[in-house]
Amino acid sequence: MDSTGITPVMPLGGDNFGGSNSFFWVFALLVLMGGGFGNWGGNNGVNALNADMQRGFDTQNLQSQTRDILGAVTSGTAETIAASTANATNAINAIKDGNASLIREFGNVETALTTLGGQFSSCCCDIKQAIAASKYESAMQMAAMEQRITSKMDANEIQNLRDQISGLQLQAATANVLRYPNSWTYNGGSFPPTAAA
């Protein structure tokens, strides 16, 4: 401390105020720190200066933060949109694949039905042929039976005729043969007997 009672501040910079710019940096630093001339000239607006400066700092910080937030939102939004688009595309492709699979399955079913229909038609023809054959055989059997029946009726008549013939032949054969009577009838004459003349 010198004789004036003022504690000198250490020299500033290399030029010790030899140049004209060293104190400029001091005041620039003072502005950066927020002023502080409240004790000078009765300035009551130092707080306003500080407030203005602080608002300036805050505004710059807010702008920077806003830019960062917007960037993050934009990036996130883009990523969300891309992810949503990818999900939607995958879902659409999955539906398409599913539809294609269903179409193939329907095609297979249609083919199976066509084949089955063919089999049904073939089976029907076979059944019809079998029925026709059966009818034919039945008809033939009936005809044979009728034939046999008819033949049997002729045989009966023949047999009757034969029997008759046999009987006639027997009758003829025994016509002149003494026959012993099978029964007796006694007759003593008239009563009283009469003399022979």
Partner: protein, 84 residues
């Protein structure tokens, strides 16, 4: 409005900024700017605090200014423009 534009507008209209510029001109015109600055620091705690910051940065006010500007995230050129 960008921050440099805010500061420039303050420099033109704000009384405190005008006071700082006036004091700066006074110190600039003094026969012994160093002593003038020391006397100011005796009467103004904020100025004394600024001087302490400069001392911490190796008695280099320019270095101290840029360091504090970087710390606060402020464009130093905008402040320098407001003082011109």
């Amino acid at each position: 409005m960008s921050y440099p534009a805010i500061l420039q507008q303050l420099a033109r209209t704000n009384p405190q900024m005008q006071s700082i510029r006036n004091m700066m001109n006074i110190v600039k015109g003094a026969n012994n700017p160093q002593m003038m600055l020391d006397q100011m620091a005796q009467n103004n705690p904020q100025l004394k605090q600024a001087m302490d910051v400069i001392r911490q940065c190796g008695n280099d006010p320019q270095k101290a200014f840029y360091a504090l500007a970087e710390q606060k995230g402020v464009d130093p050129q905008a402040i320098l423009e407001s003082l011109k």
